[in-house]
């Protein structure tokens, strides 16, 4: 059985027919998404082509420094992207950056330390990308929820502070809910994996000609690694970000007041 697959640019071009179909449906149903579909198609082409060449170079050079540099760039862009979803959280960038960096390094460190993967570019780059990407989504959802909860529950939080509770105690129920909402999507999709959807890695490996057993094992490893990274990212992001709603004197900051750390 062949373990590699070769696709020509013509085959990719042919798949654009489905993009045209999507745009046609949007136009027909007045969903007003044609422009976004166009942008998404062009961006995915440019970004994936660029990262494809970058990964090729990194695989060929096979030095861990380049891998580290690429993962760092992913973490920074991930934090910036997630911040745009967490506008109600003051100073969300640093909590997100730390959350993604910790989720990425802990998860990759563990899979390497446990001997699941060898510490080479071939494994670290794609796995790192998945781990950081999922951590980004989870922490963005968690902080988005945290922002809503902290603003909607202002009266309740202040009433709890008024009893002499610490900021941490007063915020705890809302931090908990935010963490939960960040993690729930992946937990649910992990529950239904194989029944309702086939995860990308497995599909890719099957298409590339790998044995189903190998494809399943790799997919399981990745799913479990993602669960870990999403939990770490959600926990760290919420545990750091809630503090920005409070002052040193355990007071709720006024909405719109500048937070420490920008």
């Amino acid at each position: 059985m062949s373990t590699s697959i070769h696709l020509s640019p013509g085959q990719v071009a042919a798949s654009l027919a489905l993009v045209a179909l999507a745009a046609a449906i949007s136009f027909w149903q007045k969903a007003d998404l044609e422009r976004d579909i166009g942008i998404a198609t062009v961006r995915s082409f440019v970004q994936l082509t660029a990262i494809g060449y970058a990964i090729k170079l990194i695989f060929e050079a096979d030095t861990l420094w380049l891998v580290f540099a690429l993962l760092t760039v992913m973490v920074v862009f991930g934090a910036l992207t997630a911040r745009s979803r967490a506008k109600k959280v003051p100073g969300a960038f640093w909590p997100l950056l730390i959350a993604l960096a910790l989720a990425g390094s802990t998860t990759l460190g563990l899979v390497v330390a446990l001997g699941v993967f060898e510490p080479t570019a071939r494994y670290l780059v794609p796995v790192g990308g998945m781990v950081i990407g999922n951590a980004m989504t989870a922490s963005a959802v968690a902080l988005n929820r945290l922002g809503d909860e902290m603003i909607d529950s202002r009266a309740k939080i202040e009433a709890t502070l008024a009893l002499g509770a610490t900021a941490q105690e007063a915020a705890a129920p809302f931090v908990r809910r935010a963490l939960r909402s960040g993690m729930i999507a992946l937990v649910d999709s992990t529950k239904t994996t194989g029944l309702i959807f086939f995860p990308g890695t497995m599909v890719g490996m099957l298409l590339a000609g790998a044995s189903p057993t190998d494809a399943v094992r790799l997919q399981l490893i990745l799913l479990y690694a993602l669960l870990g990274s999403v939990a770490i990212a959600g926990l760290v992001a919420t545990a750091l970000a809630y503090r920005n709603f409070f002052t040193q004197a355990q007071q709720l900051r006024e909405p719109g007041a500048p937070a420490p750390g920008g």
Partner: protein, 218 residues
């Protein structure tokens, strides 16, 4: 003096909420009155450091407020907000939480009775209480910390007349039973007269009058 405020100012956005306000609040029952937007609730929040002023000095029992550890201060000087904001769970779990924070043994029945609630309310889910019952549960929760001072922000504004009278009777009873001082914000001069023995009248963020209730025109 319980509280002394000297040239206290606080700005929110471009609004000067408190403007060089000076006043004294003695032990006993003080009513803070004035039209809405005068800064009454803001003043109350400064007294247990839920907020700090931008300028000026506040002291509590002769010591600058800033020298008190905010958490310890709030367990002594307990604020009950205008709208009830209980934690999810039962009335008793709310009381136990507050008592625990203050390191006090909870006597739920006693606290509920003081707040004018039947002890059977202990096991009730707070989500199923009326606003008046929630307001009383808030009062019972504050009392479970055995505070020295109760700060009450418009305790009856959300209630009908009958419930208002009942809460006022409860507060009068509290003062007879406990060694407790009360600072009460009210937009109703009659309520101030019924409950207070000292009054501070605010307008546009300044204290325009302060003194014994008999001597102040309301």
């Amino acid at each position: 003096m319980l509280f002394e405020l000297n040239e206290v100012s606080l700005t929110r956005g471009d609004r000067r909420v408190l403007d060089a306000l000076s006043a004294t609040i003695p032990a006993g029952a003080t009513a803070i009155v004035g039209p809405s937007g005068a800064g009454k609730s803001t003043l109350l929040r400064l007294l247990n450091r839920l907020a700090d002023p931008d300028a000026g000095a506040i002291s509590y029992r002769g010591k600058p407020l800033g020298e008190y550890e905010p958490l310890a201060l709030r367990r002594q000087v307990s604020l009950v907000p205008q709208l009830p904001a209980l934690l999810e769970g039962t009335v008793e779990s709310n009381l136990a939480y507050a008592a625990g924070l203050a390191g006090k043994e909870l006597d739920a029945e006693h606290c509920l009775r003081l707040a004018g609630l039947d002890p059977a309310f202990a096991s009730r889910d707070v989500a199923k209480l009326s606003v008046g019952e929630q307001q009383r549960a808030m009062l019972a929760r504050a009392l479970s910390q055995e505070p020295a001072v109760l700060l009450l922000d418009e305790p009856t504004s959300a209630l009908d007349h009958a419930t208002r009278d009942a809460i006022e009777a409860t507060l009068a009873e509290l003062r007879r039973e406990l060694e407790i001082s009360i600072v009460l914000v009210s937009h109703d001069p009659e309520q101030a007269r019924r409950l207070g023995d000292w009054v501070v009248r605010l307008e546009h963020g300044r204290a325009i009058e302060a003194g014994p209730i008999e001597g102040v025109a309301l």
